[in-house]
């Protein structure tokens, strides 16, 4: 039994009307493990902290229990200042008797005092068994690895290189640029794609900190946060790169709507990408184009909105309406999606340029008239209720971006998550671009279909998140928390009693456990760099072998016994 000194805070007289501190002192003095009971006016003041620390030093106590306000108020401040004064974190306990007791039972001082006594007893019981997790640290490799040299990857590479870090840029195709290479103009500024891409391509060429690996494909990934080793084939030769962080900017794939609206069979039914190609090489000839939106999107198979197809149609429709005199341009849509601060104006501008919009219902899609060559499109206008026949010489299908085929494979190698459609995903919306594995970031259309502008933006953001890792020479596992300072420890296995049943491996949401055969039997091993101390493994461990020392079962058990 450790000796415990208890500090009771009156909170400037805020709670001693409700809680009877003399009663608490009396009750606590019955406990043989309590060696010091001190009632303080306001623990969060610096003067009182100093007094507290000197009292702790004078007494022969091993651990300190503070009964004050909750950790979310000023409790954490008190803990932090005690740690600064040299008291170890796992030797400090905090009991919340203000928010959790005095303030909610202000009408019943007697019960509140009893509750405070129980809460402090629970705190003492917990503190007796509180232990500290082991920690480990990894030397951070100073280089970054970026997968994919599209706009997002290029922007990330540029930002990282200009911050002074070496960047290895892997690309599947022969040249950098990604999908931006294939299109003529970008929305919403109608700028040439080559203008947008130019500075980045020059940076890749000229910045000695960026190494570009065309025609490469990742084969396996080893290592953890701060020190990944990525094996890949580079121009059909096996190679490997070490990196401190990985940025996934693999982009997405164009959906080819084979079989829809005669695509693939009828010559003048094309998709947006072919439209772009034709306008790039100048072979585009149309006066009466019809754009059909949501082809293969927002349906059962792909129930998502790809968000970029509406602006793309607006861009291409207004371009024809403005450039070609006498053109008649139709957009058949299921609701135009123009989110953000610039796209609504873009839509209004397109409207005023003479492009006509017809809304159709999902149940009644437009019909193509003509078997070898589309002469007209028949559509039921959902607003007016009239079926219209639109003469046309070109049907452009707006299709969504779909995830790359090898996303799942890559996600498995990198140990990150994909969403139900196959795009890479974050695990928590409040930590954007961050994945299940710390030190791996996602950006651009690999994460979700986005415009080139947003890709660049996300690439730069991911780069800055990566810098926060790269600038450290060593990373301790205990600091790998999404919310700084709030990691409670790591799971710990007692190898002697582990049966190797594998429940923890199945339950761990971060794949931090694995089973290893040691001396003829299987035991579970925890990877501290991955463990987030959620406790999923603890609750499924059949015999309590897996524990988080800061929150072990003995603590919980004793707290329950002392609860009333």
């Amino acid at each position: 039994m450790a000796n415990i000194s208890v500090f009771l805070c009156k909170c400037f007289g805020e709670i001693d009307n409700t809680i009877n501190f003399d009663f608490l002192r009396e009750e606590l003095s019955k406990d043989p493990s309590v060696v010091l009971i001190s009632i303080v006016d306001s623990l969060c003041l610096e003067t009182d902290i100093e007094k507290t620390v000197s009292q702790i030093r004078e007494s022969n106590s091993d651990k300190v229990l503070i009964a004050a306000c909750s950790t979310l108020s000023r409790g954490n401040l008190v803990i932090e200042s005690l740690i600064k004064e040299g008291v170890e974190r796992h030797k400090i306990g905090l009991v919340d008797i203000r928010e959790g007791c005095a303030w909610i039972h202000g009408d019943n001082p007697e019960d509140a005092s009893k509750k405070a006594k129980d809460l402090i007893n629970m705190g003492i019981a917990a503190l007796q068994h509180k232990d500290m997790s082991d920690d480990m640290s990894v030397t951070v490799h100073p280089n970054a690895l970026i997968i994919g040299a599209g706009p997002a990857g290029l922007a990330a590479a540029m930002s990282l290189a200009r911050t002074g870090f070496k960047v290895n840029l892997l690309e599947r195709s022969k040249v950098p640029g990604g999908m931006l290479k294939l299109i003529s103009r970008c929305y919403p500024d109608n700028d040439d794609a080559s203008n947008k891409l130019g500075p980045y391509l020059r940076e890749v060429e000229n910045n000695p900190l960026i190494t570009f690996y065309p025609q490469s494909k990742i084969t396996s990934v080893e290592g953890d946060t701060g020190n990944f080793t990525v094996h890949f084939s580079f121009q059909e030769k096996d190679s490997f790169i070490q990196a401190g962080v990985i940025i996934v900017a693999t982009g997405a794939k164009i959906f080819f709507p084979t079989g829809l609206y005669g695509y693939g069979e009828i010559k003048n039914v094309i998709n947006q990408m072919e439209f772009e190609r034709q306008s790039l090489n100048g072979s585009l000839e149309t006066k009466k184009p019809v754009f059909i939106q949501c082809v293969g999107a927002r349906n059962r198979e792909r129930p998502y909105c790809s968000t970029i197809c509406c602006p793309i149609s607006l861009k291409n429709a207004s371009r024809i309406a403005e450039d070609i005199p006498g053109a008649s341009v139709f957009i058949l849509h299921r609701g135009i999606m123009t989110p953000g601060n610039t796209l609504e104006k873009y839509y209004r501008d397109t409207l005023s340029s003479g492009v006509q919009f017809i809304r159709f219902e999902e149940e009644q899609p437009p019909r193509i008239i003509g078997s070898d060559y589309v002469e007209a499109v028949e559509v039921y206008d959902a607003i007016t209720g009239i079926t219209r026949k639109i003469e046309t010489d070109l049907v452009v299908l707006s299709t969504p971006l779909v995830p790359n085929n090898d996303n799942v494979q890559l996600a498995e190698m990198l140990d990150i998550e994909v969403d139900r459609y196959g795009f890479f995903s974050e695990i928590y919306p409040m930590h954007p671009l961050e994945t299940k594995t710390d030190g791996i970031f996602i950006c651009g259309s690999a994460r979700w279909p986005v415009s080139s502008d947003h890709s660049i933006l996300q690439g730069k953001a991911a780069a800055m998140k990566a810098v926060s890792y790269l600038r450290q020479s060593k990373i301790a596992a205990s600091t790998l928390s999404r919310v700084p300072g709030l990691k409670s420890g790591h799971a710990r296995v007692v190898p002697e009693s582990c049966t190797g049943c594998g429940n923890c491996v199945a339950a761990c949401p971060f794949d931090a456990c694995h089973i290893e055969k040691l001396e003829g039997r299987y035991i579970s091993i925890v990877n501290m760099m991955k463990c987030k101390a959620c406790g999923s493994c603890v609750s499924v461990c059949p015999n309590g072998t897996m524990q988080i020392p800061e929150h072990n079962y003995r603590m919980v058990g004793e707290m329950i016994k002392m609860a009333f």
């Binding site: 709507p257 049943c501 594998g502 309590g544 058990g557």
Partner: protein
């Protein structure tokens, strides 16, 4: 069935597919006991009755044997499921285990309340249909009524407990060392009968998704507490909600261990034309 089993066992031993066959033997004093048949000649004494769970013993034999020791176990449905659960828990190496599956009789299934009285890999005997435990008169009588009545029935039963740990020790899947039931934090020590809510329910819940309903706990209980009834509700839930049953396949992990939610992507109804288009798309 016996002859067929003997033949299979003999073949395994002669072809050296396994180092030994593990089954039941009638010894010279006419007593039935588990036996390791290493010599094909010994198989003459092989018997199949009564029901005797060999899974845990087989695990012990395999664990104390050299790495390449292969064991063929003559097992019933429940035994096979238990072995598969032990494989899942890394207690048995899959490649070291052979099973000779034998089917149980209808009478045996009725006694055990077994809903699956045959192994997945059936080698000898005829499959008989299982019993729905919830249709059984004994179970119904025990589990009907409101909470209060049920609690009273359970209390009367569980008060008989002498805390012999027979239920735990006989369970083929209870493998932990040390066990939480011996830990003062969870179960008060030195108290008989055992604390109901902790001792019995902790044991029952630990087996919630691994119980193969072999009934060994119940058979081992010296005071006849119907311990299997504790598991029935949870087994039913697992089957109905997640389509999961313990011990059917070594690769399928318990749904209670994963965060996957069996929910449809979206509850929207989609018009038919989309499906027709999709079919065209795929072709």
């Amino acid at each position: 069935m016996l002859e067929k089993t003997k033949n299979i066992a003999r073949q395994i031993l002669e072809e050296k597919k396994a180092s030994a066959v593990f089954g039941l033997m009638r010894n010279e004093w006419n007593i039935i006991q588990p036996h390791l048949f290493e010599d094909p000649a010994g198989l003459a004494n092989l018997v199949l009755e009564p029901k005797w769970l060999l899974a845990k013993l087989a695990m012990r034999i395999l664990r104390s044997s050299p790495e390449n020791y292969k064991l063929a176990v003559i097992c019933r449905g429940c035994d096979e499921r238990a072995l598969i659960e032990l494989i899942k828990r890394n207690q048995i190496e899959k490649e070291n285990l052979l099973t000779i599956g034998i089917a149980c009789s209808q009478e045996q299934a009725a006694i055990c309340l077994c809903d699956r009285p045959y192994p997945e890999k059936l080698d000898a005997g005829e499959k008989v249909s299982g019993v729905d435990p919830f249709q059984d008169e004994r179970v119904r009588k025990f589990l009907i009524g409101n909470d209060k009545e049920r609690m009273k029935r359970w209390a009367d039963m569980l008060k008989r407990c002498i805390k012999c740990y027979g239920c735990r020790n006989s369970c083929p899947i209870c493998i932990c060392e040390p066990c939480k039931l011996e830990d003062d934090v969870w179960v008060q020590r030195g108290v008989v009968p055992a604390e109901t809510i902790t001792f019995h329910l902790i044991r029952a819940f630990h087996l919630s998704d691994t119980c193969v309903a072999c009934g060994a706990c119940q058979e081992a209980c010296p005071v006849n507490i119907p311990l299997l009834y504790l598991q029935l509700g949870m087994r039913k839930t697992l089957r109905e909600k997640y389509g999961y049953e313990a011990g059917l396949d070594p690769e399928t992990k318990s749904p209670v261990l994963s965060s996957a939610f069996e929910k449809p992507d979206t509850d929207r109804e989609f018009p038919d034309w989309i499906n027709s288009l999709r079919e065209e798309d795929e072709s």
